[in-house]
Amino acid sequence: MSVNIKINNAVKKFGENTVISDISVDIKDKELFTLLGPSGCGKTTLLRMIAGFNTIEGGEFYFNEKKINDMEVSHRNIGMVFQNYAIFPHYSVRQNVEFGLRNRKLDKAVVTEEADKFLKLMQIYEYRDRKPEQLSGGQQQRVALARALVIKPDVLLMDEPLSNLDAKLRLEMRQVIRDVQKEVGITTVYVTHDQEEAMAISDRIAVMDFGVIQHIGTPQEIYHRPSNTFVATFIGRTNFVDAHYLANKKLVEVGEYNFKVDNISLEKNNDVILSVRPEDFLFHEEAKTSLKGVIKDSFFLGLNTHQLVELQHNKQLVEVIRESSLENELPIGEKISLSIKGHKVNLFSKDSKENLVKRS
């Protein structure tokens, strides 16, 4: 089955409290689509509206052309994976996986065959007769995934499925989820507040804040061309530096230093917020026009060394990342010269709301 999900102007209220004010999104067939955002921004709420567990105060939800606003949960043909797995403790692994098939009154042979297929796909076939309490967290989540997929749902919904696992298992399971999602080929909505996980797993990401979608795009788009300052800080790390844009010369001025940018949608000179990722600063021995600063602190993290630099002209602190070297690093207090990779920076309007770089 190929299913795309269309949400038009969704509104969710809990009593007087509007949690989602107006969300519209198109989720494509077979896509792994992630809702990403800080705690309390309404990710779970939106997911549960798609699932049918929450009432919908406004807007329309479609699976393909079919409007599902008032459809019973059990008729939506969805699979769902929960943060706490929610597998049935009194059933064996096999019975858990067979649960949904049995509700569909299928032939017994078919039930067994389908269950076996997904037990094997999730590599839990050898544990099929165990009770959930005899499984590790990762194995339990595999059971939950098998149970969700075995009913051949049109849509798979996952709410922070990895957050109860330890760091190592999280990496492993996120690969499993991505592989299985591609292999089964199912439209998936994935909820997480972990931006790295979202980047690693998603085809596209919707970054949410306060019940509003701030940016929808591929991980690359969101990282390189965030639509506003919230997205720029939430995805990866970035430095905001006060700067001035000269429209006729297409120059960005930061104190004495300036550099050229040529894809800015600004017609006249204006103050802007310059956003530079820590890895987009370059160190110079001594250059004529450079950004002068003093190293205030330094953190060695193995591959990279992070340094806090105070800019000379306005005393702003910026974070700079350099690949670690064997020689002695620049010591704290050292005066340094920086330049900026002009093609990678973003300029935001002073109100933080708009990215002034034209999308190509």
Binding site: A51, F53, S74
Partner: protein
């Protein structure tokens, strides 16, 4: 780990408790095998003259069998209804969040504080109205009503402790509410249901008051009522009375043993993380 002296104290305390609990049963059983005279001369020792007269009298004369069956019917049917309605109500009350559900919950729980015997007169009228007097069917509704508050109290707490997502997962998998209740809620509530059953079983089995006020007919008497007839104002056949009581304790012991395994599971559930 307990220290040695703590251990000794614990065992000492438990031994005293066990003695207090077992002593009356011991007295009951040994004396049921003694002739009347010996019961008074040697109340606590093993019988010197062993007799089965009491048991013979119970089983062959009188209507003990009928009383016995009546009591089993009343107890089992009442318990089944209490557990069934109690768990259904608990599932609904635990899942449904609103002012109305809180009101209903408090309404049920309030029953814990009101002794049902205060309503005896009205209950008698009610039974007369429905012509249930002198039948065991007059007892069952009263016992069910009596058992509801504590059952709903215990079971609702248990349902609330089950992860909500489990019900969601079952729904997503196409299960109806009824199916979820039977296949998920009831199996997971087994320890709690056993607790509720044990709790109510004793009260119903031993109840003397309602059979006394509702029932006069011989064929509808319960054991508690039947036994009371053996205690005369001037003369009591103690051997027979004690034999009756010993026999009456057997089914309840069996039921208790069956249920207590689940009950203990409930007590220790959550103590060890699975």
């Amino acid at each position: 780990m307990m220290s040695r002296s703590q251990k000794i104290f614990t065992y000492f305390a438990l031994s005293i408790w066990a003695f207090i609990a077992i002593f009356p049963i011991w007295t009951l059983i040994v004396n049921s095998f003694k002739p009347q005279k010996e019961i008074f001369s040697n109340p606590f020792g093993l019988p010197q003259t062993f007799t089965l007269e009491g048991y013979k009298a119970v089983l062959l004369k009188g209507n003990f069998g009928t009383y016995f069956l009546n009591t089993i019917y009343v107890t089992v049917i009442s318990l089944a209804l209490i557990v069934f309605f109690g768990s259904l109500a608990a599932y609904a009350l635990a899942k449904w969040n609103s002012k109305a559900s809180i009101f209903l919950y408090v309404f049920f729980i309030a029953g814990l504080m009101i002794p049902i015997r205060l309503g005896t007169i009205d209950l008698i009228r009610l039974m007369q109205f429905f012509s249930l007097q002198d039948t065991i069917w007059s007892l069952i509704p009263v016992y069910v009503a009596m058992g509801m508050p504590i059952s709903i109290f215990i079971l609702t707490a248990f349902v609330k402790n089950l992860p909500k997502e489990m019900f969601d997962a079952a729904k997503v998998d196409g299960a109806s509410e009824w199916h979820i209740y039977l296949k998920i809620v009831v199996p997971l509530l087994r320890p709690a249901i056993a607790t509720v059953a044990i709790f109510n079983m004793m009260k119903i089995w031993n109840d003397f008051w309602f059979p006394l006020v509702f029932i006069r007919a011989e064929e509808s008497r319960t054991v508690a009522l039947g036994v009371s007839l053996l205690f005369g104002q001037y003369r009591t056949d103690w051997t027979r009375a004690l034999s009756t009581l010993s026999l009456a304790a057997i089914p309840i012991l069996i039921l208790y043993i069956l249920l207590s395994r689940e009950f203990i599971k409930g007590l220790t559930a959550g103590a060890v993380k699975g």
